[in-house]
């Protein structure tokens, strides 16, 4: 299968203290990969390293067959960060303005937004069901609605892979469900590869097709989630007082 991301012998540390040791990971086209682990297990650090936002001390990261150091085709990658930390909620921007931002690299420097771009924004907002909110200020929407807008912003550049860093933190349960359904649709119908960092093990095991479990500086389990003796690994990372509840309707 087509390998989109290839990580080999990755080491990363903040000021002498290693947080990632000898990480190896392959992400294939069409994967829906969940990266789980307890707080402080460097899940987000791994994601930031893959995206080139942090520079590892050792090891290699390839994305679409190119080292992340020389990677330039950013339009092929989408990124949705944790809602709460990524933006200033009193920023005076409309939903339309926010979503069109990811078209800017395609439009190019020194050029302005045209009618066709606005139509594309409308169509993309329709995919996430937010087209009627396009003239609303982003700060006036609920957490769930904002996150849908951010996913539309990611989607508009037609990425082949989307990385999400704890995308449902601070969002109510109902909106979380809708959000996960959207991701599933992108993965199944549009064949977009999805990599999601989350501490919500219950949801992750329900939704994803592959799982990577982080802890103790290592990435331990990395396989189809239903085939893995999962509870054993979870106990190792989270401790033996942990219970996993899966609730089905």
């Amino acid at each position: 299968m087509d390998k989109i991301v290839k990580i080999r012998n990755l080491f990363f540390g903040y000021d002498e203290k290693m947080v990632l040791e000898d990480i190896n990971l392959d992400i294939h086209r069409g994967d829906y990969l969940g990266i789980v682990g307890p707080n402080g297990s460097a899940k987000s650090t791994l994601l930031k390293s893959i995206l080139g936002l942090l520079k590892p001390q050792r090891g290699s990261i390839e994305i679409f067959g190119r080292s992340i150091k020389d990677f330039k085709e950013w339009g092929r990658i989408g990124y949705v960060s944790q809602k709460a930390t990524s933006f200033n909620s009193s920023f005076p921007a409309t939903v339309e303005e926010v979503v069109s931002a990811n078209l800017f690299p395609k439009i190019g420097l020194f050029k302005s937004i045209k009618k066709e771009h606005k139509e594309r924004v409308f169509e993309t907002l329709k995919v996430v069901g937010m087209e009627n909110y396009r003239r609303r200020l982003i700060g006036n929407l609920s957490g769930g609605q904002q996150q849908k807008v951010f996913i539309a912003k990611t989607l508009i550049s037609e990425p082949e892979i989307i990385f999400l860093d704890e995308p449902t933190v601070g969002i109510d349960v109902e909106s979380q469900g809708e959000f996960y359904d959207l991701l599933e649709r992108f993965n199944k119908d549009m064949n977009i590869t999805i990599v999601m960092v989350s501490h919500d093990i219950g949801v992750i095991t329900e939704k994803v097709s592959r799982i990577a479990c982080m802890g103790d500086k290592k990435l331990l389990v990395h396989n189809k989630c239903c085939r893995v003796p999962f509870s054993e690994a979870l106990t190792r990372f989270y401790g033996d007082r942990m219970n996993m509840l899966v609730h089905r309707h």
């Binding site: 990524s86 009193s90 920023f91 005076p92 921007a93 409309t94 303005e97 069109s100 800017f104 420097l109």
Partner: protein, 278 residues
Amino acid sequence: MLEILQYGFMQRALLAGIIIGILCPSIGIFIVLRRMSLIGDSLSHVALAGVAAGILAGVYPISMSLIFSVVAALAIEKLRKSYEEYAELSIAIILSAGIGLAVVLISLAKSFNIDLLGYLFGSITTVLPRDLWIITILGILIIITIKFLYKELFYIAFDEVSAKLAGIPVSYINLLFIILIASTITLSMRIVGILLVSSLMILPVATSLQLAKSFKHATILSIVFAQVAIISGIFIAYYLELASGGTIVLISVMILLIVLGIKRLNRYLLRRKVLGTS
């Protein structure tokens, strides 16, 4: 009333004021939204050192302060990378360095030059034809650059990390942006004065944020508020023989207070209406 427009210095002051009234809020909106509000103060103190150095060396003070503030702007950007977690620290470091240098240079000049006072507090009567030329040419150049980079600057202000990941050349644009800030400050000091230039970048934006329905709307409103303050400020300063910079800034504060007051009143009326009908 319009007979004062016959005076050459008044025409120059107004023209320079109108250009600065577009420049300052257009740059200011990105400064405010990136939470860099103090950068204006910091760079203007360095600009003061530049003016003092210019007067001391007998060089045109505006060119000298342009060089000083651009170098300081580059230093801020460099320091910002060294103190990633304390971005405002780089601004504070340059502010201290700027004021220190300015004080030493002024003391070297032995007496407090009257010219320096004009730069400090802004004086419409001292806008020379040479000043107007540099304000017009550089001002138009900066306005065109902002217009062309408007959408990228918007994205970086909204979310710098996402902008980088979307493929926007964030470092280059940041560098250019900080040079634009330094140039705007140097150009504006003739009208509003070094001590008040940063207020002209911040106040109209602060007012517009109270009313804005979109980013574009916020930009347009802040330019409108700046123009109202500058044009009326220049006239009032002339007739009442006040310092132009202070007058312009006080009018900006008044506009902000009026907008805040109207908003409060609206909220109060709405609440009464809701309570009255229930």
